[in-house]
């Protein structure tokens, strides 16, 4: 009763598969989920579709659906329609990246139903009465810290693939110098009170040149935790 969580071994993430899928034209909709800082957003922005415009939005519970679809903007006394990222990505056949999709309000999620439909049936009718259909190449990648269970069944069902990310991409570790890399590998999966994400390690590494490693640890993690990490690093390499 003291602690109920059974520690399950972490399943490795097949990052090669994620990259392959993101480069495939057949893959239209993906739900990529896992703990923060594992590189989900990075993957959605950088893998496949290189050199093209990518539309990206981060949902919060206050995101109005109109912001996603588009809205009128007054320009010199006239109202002009502006496409939102959903509409623009569809029109241009681009990739649309939606971060933290489960955090969106129900209205925003409702707007996802028609957008996530198959290429033949997906369409959005705008308040201008225009109906937008996806141009070839339109792709939707949703990233999230929460599991797909947080979404309604019907929405879950609309993703071509649903992939859990459990560890950072190897390239992310390679950005760190050797003396921090092992610590980063061992600390990203600790329980949340002690977790140090790769993002934090990258920040520590960026700052250390100017202020030294200990102070960088203090600045990024706070003095007490910074000291704990610093002493563990020193002892680790002894």
């Amino acid at each position: 009763m003291a602690e109920k969580k059974v520690v399950e071994p972490r399943r490795p993430t097949d990052w090669a598969l994620v990259e392959e899928l993101l480069s495939s034209e057949e893959m239209r909709t993906m739900f990529l989920y896992g703990d923060p800082s594992l590189g989900k957003t990075y993957a959605a922005y950088h893998f496949g579709r290189t050199g093209e415009e990518i539309y990206a939005i981060t949902l919060t519970e206050d995101t109005p659906a109109a912001e996603l679809r588009g809205h009128y903007v007054p320009v010199e006394g006239e109202l002009v329609w502006r496409d939102g990222p959903f509409t623009a990505a569809m029109r241009n056949g681009s990739r649309l990246v939606i971060n933290e999709v489960t955090h969106g309000p129900p209205e925003a999620q409702s707007l996802l139903y028609p957008v996530l439909e198959s290429i033949e049936t997906a369409r959005l009718t705008l308040p201008t009465n225009e109906t937008v259909r996806p141009a070839p190449g339109f792709q939707v990648i949703c990233t999230d810290n929460l599991t797909p269970d947080e979404l309604p069944d019907a929405l879950q069902d609309r993703f071509d693939c649903t992939i859990e990310v459990t560890e950072p991409h190897p390239n992310a570790f390679d950005k760190l110098p050797a003396d921090l890399r092992q610590a980063a590998r061992r600390s990203f999966a600790l329980e949340s009170a002690r977790r140090v994400s790769i993002r934090r390690w990258l920040a520590i590494d960026r700052l250390r040149g100017k202020i030294g490693l200990r102070k960088a640890c203090h600045a990024v993690l706070g003095p007490a935790r910074g000291d704990q990490i610093m002493d563990a690093l020193n002892l680790g390499k002894a």
Binding site: A2, E3, K4, R49, A56, A66, P127, A183, A238
Partner: protein, 474 residues
């Protein structure tokens, strides 16, 4: 020959031994010093809240458990324990002498190692006084064996002098023995380390030294003889000094072994676990929650951009002819206050404090076959004091509590580690699926921590969505 030391019953006061929000910043990172990576993280407990400890630092590499004081002064103890993680044997061996002897020499070994790598153990002044006091008590009691062991354990630290000091007044034979062991243990450990060009001596060399120390102490009758005993039964790191205050009464305690066993909740394959019976109580709510009490009627606000035109008359005024939905604070928060959540009443208090006027907050937990769901904030008023203390240590009533939540105002937030149980605090697959189903149907969002819920509450009504267009270059 010889008897084994009595099994130590170390008692962990449930819940409070686990790191709280306040103590978390002092958690050490043993995983970073191990030579081999290991997927199972260490379990770290706060020795400030464990009853019956002789020492405030304890490492068990086999069970991957560390007991250290989670406070500023405890950092030096944590470093000492991390040195055990780095250099001590994977499994504490069994020895034919008192296990405290082995551990004292082991302490000397890792402290000298810390000294060699430039991280000497520097004990904070207040603790140094405590440790010196213990040594003096050993002396007064005539427990010279313990006194000498304490001294050996402190080799390489800045409390060494203080511990050996009382020995100067002891019988010359004892004094000589003590000084001799002090010197020989140090030189032998250092030489052994030099020989292998490592910061510390090998396991074998250290074991030999310990055995010799045991022989000497036993021959002088300064320490009781023991049959084959695991070093895991030793009293802990003698150099770390006594545990701090906070060692309270003996109620609601379990032994470390019980705790470790309870670590993994057995799920019964049959799955015939019934949820416990739940009573819903309304705690007295004498205090008003300060803060945003704005009326909740307005659902829209005018805006200059939008897609639904509602106020053409504003065009010449401010152009805010569209309407946009306003989101209000509100909804319902349900907190799992079972033991595994390790919530302190301060944490619950903080959450209740930020709960806006329209938010209802309830907490639940259980014991045996029943539990309680207690409403602790409602209509802008909140409960205080003991009404924020958990009802029981178990979950028991997750299912009825979730069913209750599914009927309350949206958004519905469940603060829980997600582990659920029924009668007897047992879990089952069926029960888990039933809870997952209620959660899904009720559009309940689970957050693992009180802080997440607090962040969620204070985020509300502020941040708008960030739209960023990312141009990618190949």
């Amino acid at each position: 020959m010889g008897k084994r030391p009595k099994r130590r019953r170390v008692r962990i006061r449930k819940q409070s031994a686990y790191p709280t929000h306040r103590t978390q910043q002092h958690l050490p990172y043993p995983e970073l010093v191990e030579s081999e990576p290991n997927d199972t993280p260490y379990r770290i407990l706060d020795s400030n809240h464990i009853d019956g400890l002789i020492s405030n630092g304890l490492t068990n590499k086999q069970d991957r458990q560390l007991i250290v004081p989670l406070d500023q002064n405890g950092h030096v103890v944590s470093n000492h324990e991390l040195a055990h993680v780095k250099w001590s044997p994977e499994i504490w061996p069994k020895v034919r002498y008192h296990p405290n002897i082995f551990l004292a020499v082991e302490d000397a070994r890792v402290n000298l190692g810390l000294e060699r790598i430039g991280m000497p153990m520097q004990v904070p002044p207040s603790d140094r006084v405590e440790i010196a006091k213990l040594a003096f008590q050993d002396f007064q009691r005539g427990d010279y064996g313990m006194l000498i062991l304490r001294g050996i354990a402190s080799l390489g630290t800045d409390v060494e002098e203080a511990i050996f000091e009382p020995l100067a007044q002891a019988d010359p034979i004892i004094r000589e023995l003590g000084n001799d062991l002090r010197e020989s243990v140090r030189t032998r450990l250092e030489r052994a380390a030099d020989r292998i060009e490592k910061p510390v001596a090998s396991d074998r060399a250290t074991g030999k030294i310990a055995k010799d120390v045991a022989k000497r102490l036993e021959s002088y009758g300064l320490i009781e003889k023991c049959g084959l005993t695991s070093v895991a039964e030793a009293d802990g790191c003698l150099v770390c000094g006594p545990p701090g205050e906070g060692c309270g009464d003996g109620d609601g305690v379990l032994t470390i072994d019980d705790g470790a066993r309870a670590h993994t909740r057995r799920e019964r394959s049959g799955g015939d676990v019934d949820p416990g019976t739940m009573k819903i109580v309304m705690a007295p709510t004498p205090q008003r929650i300060l803060g945003n009490q704005r009326a909740l009627e307005r659902k829209w606000r005018p805006a200059a951009e939008g897609s639904v035109v509602t106020a053409v008359h504003r065009m010449p005024i401010d152009g805010a002819i569209f309407r946009r939905p306003i989101r209000h604070r509100g909804g319902t928060i349900l907190i799992d206050t079972s033991g595994s959540m390790r919530l302190s009443s301060e944490e619950i208090d903080r959450l209740v404090r930020v709960a806006g006027g329209a938010t209802m907050v309830a907490m639940y937990s259980g014991d045996g076959d029943e539990g309680e769901l207690r409403i602790i904030a409602k209509d802008g008023r909140r409960a205080v004091g003991m009404h924020l203390d958990p009802y029981g240590q178990g979950n028991i009533v997750d299912l009825p509590a979730l069913e209750w939540l599914a009927e309350q105002a949206m958004p519905r937030i469940w603060v829980s580690d997600g582990s659920v149980s029924g009668c007897g605090d047992r879990g089952s697959k069926e029960l888990r699926l039933a809870c997952a189903d209620v959660k899904r149907r009720g559009q309940i969002e689970r957050l693992g921590k009180v802080d997440d819920a607090i962040a969620r509450m204070s985020r509300r009504g502020r941040r708008a969505a960030r739209v960023d267009r990312t141009k990618k270059k190949s």
